[in-house]
Structure formats: C-alpha cells, structure tokens
C-alpha cells in the first residue's frame, strides 16, 4: 500500500545529517555534532553508514595539526533525499 521508505534515511540521526548537508555545501563533523546534538561515537557510526550507501563523501584532513572530518552530500544522496521526501509526503497524505 505504501512505498517502502529508504531504510538508510529512515532513521532519526542519519536523516538529520542528510537534511543538514542538503542545505549547505559541506560541513565539518563538529558542526554536524553540534546541530544534531548526537554523541561523537554514534554520529561517526551513522556517517559511516551514509558513506557506505554512497549518500555522502567524507574527507579527512588536518587543520592546525588537528584532524578534521569534512562531510559533503553526493548527487546520489540528493536524489535519495528527494525521493524520501516524496515518499513520506505520499504516506502522510494517504494517512490523512
């Protein structure tokens, strides 16, 4: 009856991360942690899952001798996000 929702995005934290990344060009791990109020460990795990799905790119580099993780959404991630939004809109409309 309902379209299956993308299991990668249908999770609170992963959806929050992707929603942030579609709004900005790229963001540091610390920015995502601050905005989602997640723990570093949990956020790392979810970012890894998004990366494995091909939804985001993760670049690790050094800034002033400190490690820095930069996340950026991929075109696949944008498409998946757009489809997810359409699917939940459909779900909500049918439920009404």
């Amino acid at each position: 009856m309902f379209k299956d929702l993308d299991p990668v995005l249908h999770s609170q934290l992963r959806l929050a991360v992707v929603s942030l990344l579609v709004s900005v060009n790229e963001a540091e791990f610390t920015f995502l942690k601050e905005k989602t109020e997640a723990t570093a460990g949990n956020l790392s795990v979810q970012i890894q899952k998004l990366k494995e799905a091909g939804y985001i790119e993760v670049e690790k580099k050094f800034k002033d001798n400190y490690p820095q993780t930069i996340c950026k959404i991929t075109p696949t991630g944008v498409k998946a996000f757009e489809k997810y939004v359409k699917d939940i809109q459909l779900y909500i409309n049918i439920k009404k």
Binding site: L5, H10, S11, Q12, L13, R14, L15, A16, S19, L20, V22, S23, V24, N25, E26, A27, E28, T30, F31, E34, K35, T36, E37, A38, N42, V45, Q46, K63, D64, Y84, V85, I88, Q89, Y91, I92, K95
Partner: protein
C-alpha cells in the same frame, strides 16, 4: 539525538528543523565591504584634494594603499576560511563572484594608464555596482541591491563630469555600494549571531 525509528510525521519535523538550522545564518558579515569601502573612499578623496592643490604625485595613494588592502584581504580571508565549520552554497557562489570581480578590477586598474581616468573610473563604478547588486541577490539583502543600482546611476552620471570630478563620483559610488550596505549587513549579521 539518538538513532531510532521514526514515523513519517517525525521525519518531516526533523527535515524542517535541520534545514532551518542550516539556512538561517547570513553568509557574509560585511567586514570586507566596510574595509574596502572606507579604503577606496578615503583614497579617492585624498587624491581629489591633492589633485585640486596641483600636487602631481597625488595618484600614488592608489598604488600604495590598494596592494596593501589586497594583502590584508588575502590574509583575512585565509584566516576566516580556517575558522569556518561549514561552507554554504551561497558562500561558495559569493567566493566565485568576488574572485572574478577582483580579477576584473585588477585588469580595469591596469587599463588606467592606457585609457586614462575617465573611462577606467567609469568601468570601476560599473563593477562596484554589478558585484554588490548580485551579492545583494544571493544574500537576499535589499540594501546591497539598491547600492548596486545607485552605483550604476552614479557611473552613468560620471560620463558628463570632468576628469578631476570623477574622483568624487567614485567616492559617491563606493559610499552607496560598499560603505552604507556594508554597515547595514554587519548590523544584521551581528543581530543574527545574538539570536
């Protein structure tokens, strides 16, 4: 935030909240607009006063102050880039726009020696107007768009003015396109930071 299952309604709320969190911050604090605005404004007026006093080396204010401003801008921008936690799309487009503008300005200034003050200052005022008008559109900031249009009007008016008075037109152009909108932009940025 935990990683747990959610309903579609909760999904919509998360998406809405996160997008609002990310988009509401202004991508520019107006500092460089104010810095360059006052630098060019003062340089043009000093050049005008010295020109009026028949002091021939008055033009030297430009080759001295502009490269110093360029070096300061380069250092300041590099430091700001290091501090940035997030790069927005608007910030990225503004970066390309202002880099292109900087190159165009450099070439227009080079043409000064060949085409003279009159045609070169006209080009500079058009460039000021263009860059602030487009920046105003990207930042959705009306004062910059108005400043850009005023700079176009002043550039058009300058065509009928004698050579020396071009410097006054240039000052008026930079006042309208950089200084006033720059201060207004900075006030808006500061008020958003305090929210």
């Amino acid at each position: 935030m935990e990683d747990k299952d959610i309903t579609p309604n909760q999904s919509m709320l998360i998406i809405e909240a996160m997008i609002n969190t990310a988009k509401n911050k202004l991508a520019d604090d107006g500092f460089l607009l104010i810095f360059w605005g006052w630098l060019v404004f003062v340089s043009a007026l000093v050049n005008y006063v010295l020109f009026s006093m028949n002091i021939v080396w008055g033009f030297l204010v430009w080759p001295i102050l502009m490269p110093l401003g360029g070096i300061f801008t380069w250092i300041y921008t590099a430091q700001q880039n290091k501090k940035e936690q997030v790069k927005t799309y608007v910030g990225k487009y503004l970066g390309y726009l202002w880099t292109g503008f900087g190159i165009a300005m450099g070439l227009a200034v080079l043409s000064l020696g060949v085409y003279g003050i009159k045609s070169s200052y006209f080009c500079l005022m058009l460039l000021y107007g263009f860059v602030t008008f487009v920046s105003g559109g990207l930042l959705e900031f009306k004062a910059l768009r108005i400043g850009g249009i005023l700079s176009f009007v002043i550039a058009a008016g300058s065509v009928f003015a004698p050579e020396k008075e071009q410097l006054l037109f240039l000052s008026a152009s930079i006042l309208c396109s950089y200084i006033v909108p720059g201060h207004l932009l900075r006030n808006k940025f500061k008020s958003e930071q305090n929210v």
